[in-house]
């Protein structure tokens, strides 16, 4: 594994075992929604560090810009106005990849090495191996990955794996003005969260809690929520996220059988690849537009 810069836990569509001897620390990003001012510094720092720039959009009547995640916008702030207990609240959630312990995207991905889960918890996309099938999009319980119209490859937050690999925190974490985003070992982040939750309970938020959903094996991006009992208040954060049944079925049961059974079809695909080159569904996309 000459090119390995973080220890790999698993790779998409690759049954080959990964080295297991080393046990690096498991990291996590903690987003404390109760101290987030929605300033979008994290959005800007993310785009700056990762050399991506979304198009300049328009105002659609809310503060959300860009209005959604894209291949050029890996994190966006989602603003929700709600009246809880007779009090107006402006709940602002930084949306982006949750870096699930059990990543639906990776499970769904058919392309070897396009999605990598590192042992520290980071789930990273390797666009050079991405075939643009979009399975990761369907496989994600949080609706995070986005295909780029420019190269038809999937993109999302890398948790700044390049920074973490050299011992730095992600760009969004470093820049966060109020310390609403923190980074460290997952264990430490849970500790930080518990202190915040105690403070919120003192201030009358009886249902304050940590969002680290079990349905995806826990996440390496966690939220402190004032209303942990109602995550959907936060621009529809899923209450019980889980990998869709189709993906689980495909990967869990059918795949070993299927891979044997359809090896011939696979071989066709292989020769298609080496003789014609990779598929370019965006060309098809153009065609369908015409």
């Amino acid at each position: 594994m000459a090119l390995q810069s973080l220890d790999i836990l698993r790779r998409s569509a690759t049954p080959t075992a990964t080295p297991q001897a080393r046990t690096p620390v498991e990291v996590a990003k903690l987003i404390d929604v109760s101290t987030c001012i929605g300033c979008k510094a994290c959005q800007v720092a993310c785009s700056e560090w990762n050399d991506i720039r979304e198009e300049v959009g328009s105002c659609v009547g809310v503060y959300d810009n860009p209005v959604d995640l894209t291949a050029q916008a890996w994190t966006v702030m989602r603003f929700a106005e709600t009246e809880e207990n007779g009090k107006l609240e402006w709940l602002i959630r930084k949306d982006g990849c949750m870096h699930c312990a059990d990543p639906g995207c990776l499970k769904a991905c058919p392309s070897p090495g396009a999605i990598i889960q590192y042992k520290n918890g980071i789930v990273d996309f390797h666009q050079e191996n991405c075939i643009g099938c979009g399975y990761c999009v369907a496989g994600c319980p949080f609706n995070v990955p986005r295909l780029s119209p420019a190269d038809n490859k999937a993109y999302k937050c890398s948790l700044c794996s390049d920074r973490v690999a050299v011992g730095q925190e992600p760009a969004c974490v470093k820049t966060c003005p109020t310390g609403a985003i923190q980074f460290g070992s997952k264990e430490d982040m849970k500790e930080v969260a518990s202190v915040r939750i105690a403070d919120l309970k003192n201030r009358g938020y009886q249902n304050a809690g940590l969002y680290d959903p079990e349905g995806v094996g826990g996440t390496h991006v966690m939220y402190v929520l004032h209303h942990a009992d109602k995550p959907e208040l936060y621009s529809n954060l899923p209450k019980d996220p889980a990998i869709s049944a189709t993906v689980s079925l495909w990967k869990g049961l059918l795949k070993p059988l299927a891979t044997l059974g359809i090896a011939a079809a696979g071989l066709f695909g292989f020769f298609h690849y080496i003789t014609v080159g990779p598929n370019r569904p965006d060309e098809d996309h153009e065609e369908t537009r015409k």
């Binding site: 594994m1 390995q4 973080l6 569509a13 690759t14 049954p15 101290t35 987030c36 001012i37 929605g38 300033c39 510094a41 800007v44 700056e48 560090w49 720039r53 198009e55 300049v56 659609v60 009547g61 810009n65 106005e81 009246e83 402006w90 602002i92 392309s111 070897p112 090495g113 990273d124 075939i131 099938c133 979009g134 999009v137 369907a138 609706n143 295909l147 780029s148 890398s158 794996s161 390049d162 760009a171 470093k174 003005p177 109020t178 310390g179 403070d199 003192n202 795949k255 299927a258 044997l260 090896a263 079809a265 696979g266 066709f268 695909g269 292989f270 298609h272 598929n279 098809d284 996309h285």
Partner: protein, 1028 residues
């Protein structure tokens, strides 16, 4: 959005695609099965892009938090490598920012590389509709010729009384609050030698009222505490500002107070903003009614005995007795002259005894002692009145009272974070005064975690204020001489050197002659001698205040010909932009010095409804000169807590751009040559100006910084011990204590003395050791004398012990004052001397009664905005708005009424924006791309406006079109038994830049300012709204 749909559902791809991608997926799976995968499954993260980039330290150029930057550029400094900044992130060593940057700071890379950066000098010829590239040589020659011709024609050397006044009124200049101190001080020298007094920096449209209010109360006009110190507060009030959005990284320390101390945070604001999103409580208020709310707090504190009595009795003027002639009746203070709309302030003062000391009654029983006058004045501000005039729910108002009231205890401290929500009113200074009084009553001034914290705007607006870049100021809060008050040096010194008003006070302004003569030695060098009164006659003497509104009015009347605009965008920044455009159109020449394109420089362009100009009819010659930005220069800037921080250049500027210092240097040298060759009018101050720079066309930041600090011009000896040498001739001074009034010292800005001593540049110090309470005295350098919390003597009892042992800043140790901060006091004046903590005030105490320092009253009083939604003032219906307002005739006619324009408009900045620059910054344009206004659901329903609709917002003066953000965060208020809707109008739009083109919001506000400082009333005016 098309690709989202494509992406978001693997199911929506065409059948053909599905087949192909399925096949590919299978092929991959099968490849793995066949053991061929590993070569494609190798994985490596993206390579770290900064490994050998060059790292340079800088300071963020946007707001006054002054966050530390790390700038990374390509190349290792080799001559053959051209440096290019490739990344900017926060400096983790910086004690305030600790690595953080807000969305503006985080996007600085796109500012440095903005497509709007100017690369070479250009001119727009009279009547032309385009820019033309010219050489620097041509630009400088043509500008210098314009200036000399105008100056020769209009220079006034003597007034009617024969007083030398040396002023040039027909050309104005704006200076840049994002430029360095070194640029600022050089510009000060340049302008005053020419006689320019029609000049202002952004402070005029920003925190002018802060200086007036805080200086008149405490003695100095600056933020009292520091950013990190906010973490020491038990209670934080954010009112008249929006700290989370405007100063996100400074606000970090408010969040720390919440997290670490359990502090409570309450926001009082016309809209539920992003500060409110993280507050414990939000209280709505009608824009322009703050004095009612704050006056109500004073009344409540007195009525409920939530007063820090020991503090108030010892450290305020509560016990001082006011003249018998003083009075307040039906909305007017004594001494009002209705014809002039001005007060004669003679009665607003203390009653003096035979020795000239103020009389006092420590028992506070005298009916005319300040305490009793104050109590009577605010008794009218009942909770019911507060609720009726502000629209704030009574329980919200009382919650603020109770939380503040708790901090009257010596071991509880509260702070206030405010900004332009208080300054930009006709009663701006008085808004702040009211809060300053509250903090005195609670004993929160001088305390860690307390203070009145004015969160300044631009990165160096504090510095430009300190350097006196305002019409009637000089560096170090010295005043520019006035033609009638100060015709001679003797008059000037006599009137600006106060006598103590109570025995034993430090009265630091008694040193005025030392500061002033040292300043004159900087201006005129060897030409300033005792015989010529240190060159006093060469200074311009002012007759009137030529603030920005006055300047534009004169332009509008055709009385000004030239305008030099350095890093300022007045067309977008000044109120009544339509009037401003008309005014600029009458100029003969305009010179814009800026790193980026601005609406001001292209005011002559036609942009349809948003700028209906006809270039062919505009004869103004406009020069546009490209300047460096922060990343391309060395220098210092002053943050809000008075820290002078030095920054370093990371790369060359694009194209032919030059530093402001070089541009000013070239212009000055060209002008001086013209005056040498062809002596025009008023040549003396130009030819006698000290210009000792190694390259006269390009003075360096180091040369200028050393001049700000000052040096000995002769060997200096201790006056008490003539054998003791304090400094050798030519040495940098250690601080202002060594300044002399005999011409043996020079200093361009006395309060900065200590910034560059014999020990070197103190502003670039980087020791971030926390010596306690978050204080980092080894980081950079703070004026005055590296004191970090002003008035810190007041953190101790009169006996010299800390009020709160857990907040010990300094204490009397039997011999001197010592502790973790530099005492803001005479170090060896013990408690028994009776010296009081407010050393800049001649009475030594904080002023609840502001005596004659302000134009509109010694106590704050509520007056309605010039455009009032209720059209009356229930406190005194005969005096609705402030009687001391200055308004030009034509502008009064441009005021609207609530019948025509029923809604309250209030303008503000969004956190993604900084002034009009971030329009040119792609990363920020992405985050906030298009102009909008915020309205309540109720108003939207009434007007048939839906989320995201286009709306037209109009005032008596003009209109804008924008998208509608319909929100629960704006609510209608019940004011004086009627419903008042407020409309929130974010500010920073225009036609230049990469964001969606928008209207100049400032076509809406009225052309009228704060009574004391003329800071425009942007925060409360009347508008109408309709679906566009």
């Amino acid at each position: 959005m098309d690709h989202h749909h494509h992406a978001a559902a693997g199911v929506s791809v065409s059948r053909r695609q599905f087949f192909k991608i399925s096949a590919a997926g299978m092929s991959a799976t099968s490849l793995a099965v066949m053991g061929m995968a590993p070569s494609t499954a190798q994985a490596e993260v993206r390579q770290y892009k900064l490994s050998r980039a060059t790292e340079v330290r800088n300071t963020c150029t946007y707001c006054s938090v002054g966050c530390g930057l790390l700038m990374y550029s390509l190349g290792d400094g080799a001559k053959n490598a051209k440096q290019e900044i490739i990344h900017i992130e926060g400096d983790p060593d910086h004690p305030v920012s600790r690595g953080s940057l807000c969305p503006k700071g985080a996007g600085l890379l796109d500012f440095v590389h903005s497509p709007g950066r100017l690369k070479y000098p250009e001119v727009r010829e009279a009547g032309s509709d385009q820019w033309k590239r010219i050489s620097w040589h041509e630009a400088v020659e043509r500008i210098a010729k314009h200036m000399k011709a105008d100056r020769d024609a209009n220079f006034i050397d003597k007034n009617a009384d024969g007083v030398p006044v040396n002023r040039w009124l027909s050309t104005g200049m704006l200076t840049a609050s994002a430029s360095s101190n070194e640029t600022g001080i050089l510009t000060q020298k340049f302008m005053r030698s020419l006689g320019i007094i029609a000049t202002d920096a952004q402070a005029r449209v920003c925190h002018g009222p802060t200086v007036a209010a805080l200086a008149s109360t405490f003695g100095r006009g600056a933020m009292t505490n520091s950013w990190v110190d906010i973490k020491n507060a038990d209670f934080i009030l954010v009112m008249g500002g929006n700290a989370a959005e405007a100063h996100p990284v400074g606000f970090k320390w408010a969040i720390e107070a919440k997290k670490q101390r359990g502090a409570k945070l309450i926001v009082v604001d016309p809209r539920f903003n992003r500060t409110a999103a993280v507050a414990d409580q939000y209280v709505p208020i009608r824009a322009g009614s703050d004095i009612v709310f704050l006056g109500g707090i004073i009344n409540w504190l007195i009525a409920n005995d939530k007063i820090h009595w020991d503090y108030v009795k010892a450290y305020t003027n509560a016990s001082l007795i006011v003249k018998e002639e003083y009075g307040f009746d039906e909305g007017l203070f004594s001494g009002f002259d209705a014809e002039k709309s001005k007060y004669d302030r003679a009665s607003w003062n203390y009653e003096l005894d035979a020795n000239g000391a103020a009389k006092r009654d420590p028992s506070l029983e005298h009916p005319r002692c300040v305490w009793n006058l104050m109590k009577a004045h605010f008794a009218r501000y009942t909770p019911e009145l507060v609720s009726s005039l502000t629209g704030s729910p009574k329980e919200g108002f009382l919650a603020v009272c109770q939380h503040l009231g708790e901090t009257a205890a010596p071991n509880k401290v509260g702070t206030i974070l405010y900004a332009l929500g208080w300054t930009q009113h006709t009663v701006g200074a008085q808004n702040i005064r009211t809060m300053a009084m509250i903090q005195l009553l609670l004993g929160n001034i001088g305390m860690p975690g307390g203070g009145v914290n004015a969160l300044r705007g631009h990165s160096n607006i504090q510095g430009l204020s300190d350097l006196g870049l305002l019409s009637t100021s000089l560096p170090g809060y010295l005043t520019l001489p006035n033609e009638t008050q100060h015709p001679t040096l003797a008059d000037y010194l006599a009137k600006n050197t106060p006598k103590t008003l109570l025995d034993g006070q430090f009265n630091y302004w008694s040193n005025t002659p030392k500061f002033f003569v040292s300043l004159m030695k900087w201006f005129w060098g060897d030409k300033a001698t005792a015989d010529n009164n240190w060159g006093y006659d060469w200074l311009p003497k002012w007759d009137k205040l030529y603030d920005v509104l006055h300047m534009v009015e004169l332009m509008h009347q055709g009385k000004m010909n030239g305008f030099i605009v350095q890093g300022f965008n007045p067309l977008a920044s000044f109120p009544d932009a339509n009037k401003v455009r008309e005014a600029f159109s009458k100029l003969k020449y305009m010179v814009v010095i800026d790193p980026i394109t601005t609406e001001t420089s292209s005011f002559w362009q036609n942009h349809g409804e948003s700028n209906p100009a006809d270039p062919a009819k505009i004869q103004t010659e406009v020069f546009r000169l490209p300047s460096t930005c922060f990343a391309e220069e060395d220098g210092s800037i002053v943050n809000s807590s008075r820290w002078l921080q030095w920054h370093f250049k990371g790369a060359d500027a694009p194209g032919e751009a030059k530093s402001d210092q070089e541009i000013i240097g070239e212009l000055f040298v060209a002008l001086r040559e013209l005056y040498k060759k062809d002596a025009g009018k008023g040549a003396e101050p130009i030819l006698n100006l000290s210009w000792p720079y190694r390259d006269p066309k390009n003075p360096t930041p180091e040369e200028l910084a050393k001049e700000m600090n000052g040096r000995a011009l002769a060997d200096l000896f201790d006056p008490k011990d003539p054998t003791k040498q304090l400094a050798k001739k030519g040495e940098q001074l250690p601080g202002f204590a060594l300044l002399r009034d005999d011409g043996s010292t020079m200093s361009a800005c006395w309060i900065f003395s200590g910034c560059w001593t014999q020990a070197g540049n103190q502003m670039s110090r980087r020791d971030n050791t926390d010596v306690g309470l978050g204080n980092t005295p080894g980081w950079a350098w703070a004026w005055p004398a590296n004191r970090r919390i002003l008035y810190n003597r007041a953190s101790c009892t009169p006996e010299g012990k800390p009020w709160d042992p857990s907040r010990k800043l300094i204490a009397w140790n039997g011999e001197k004052w010592a502790g973790i901060d530099v005492p803001d006091f005479k170090a060896d004046a013990g408690p028994d001397t009776g010296m009081n903590p407010f050393i800049m005030n001649p009475e030594g105490v904080g002023r609840l009664f502001a005596v004659d320092k302000l134009a509109d009253g010694p106590f704050p009083e509520h007056y309605e905005p010039m455009e009032s939604p209720i059209g009356t003032n229930p406190l005194h219906p005969k005096v609705v708005s402030s009687p001391a307002v200055r308004i030009f005739k034509g502008d009064r006619e441009r005021l609207g009424t609530h019948k025509e324009f029923p809604y309250v408009g209030t303008t503000y900045r969004l956190t993604e924006h900084f002034q009009f620059w971030t329009k040119s910054v792609r990363l920020n344009a992405i985050a906030q791309p298009e102009q909008f206004v915020e309205i309540s659901e109720q108003l939207a329903k009434e007007k048939g406006i839906a989320q995201g609709d286009w709306v037209k917002v109009s005032s008596k003066r003009g209109f804008i079109k924008a998208k509608a953000v319909v929100t629960k965060r704006m609510k209608p208020l019940a004011i004086n038994q009627q419903t008042v809707h407020q409309i929130g109008i974010p500010l920073h739009w225009g036609w230049e830049g990469v964001a969606k083109k928008g209207f100049l919001t400032n076509v809406l506000p009225p052309f009228v300012g704060d009574c004391n400082t003329q800071t425009p009333e942007y925060k409360s005016f009347l508008v109408n709204i309709e679906k566009a």
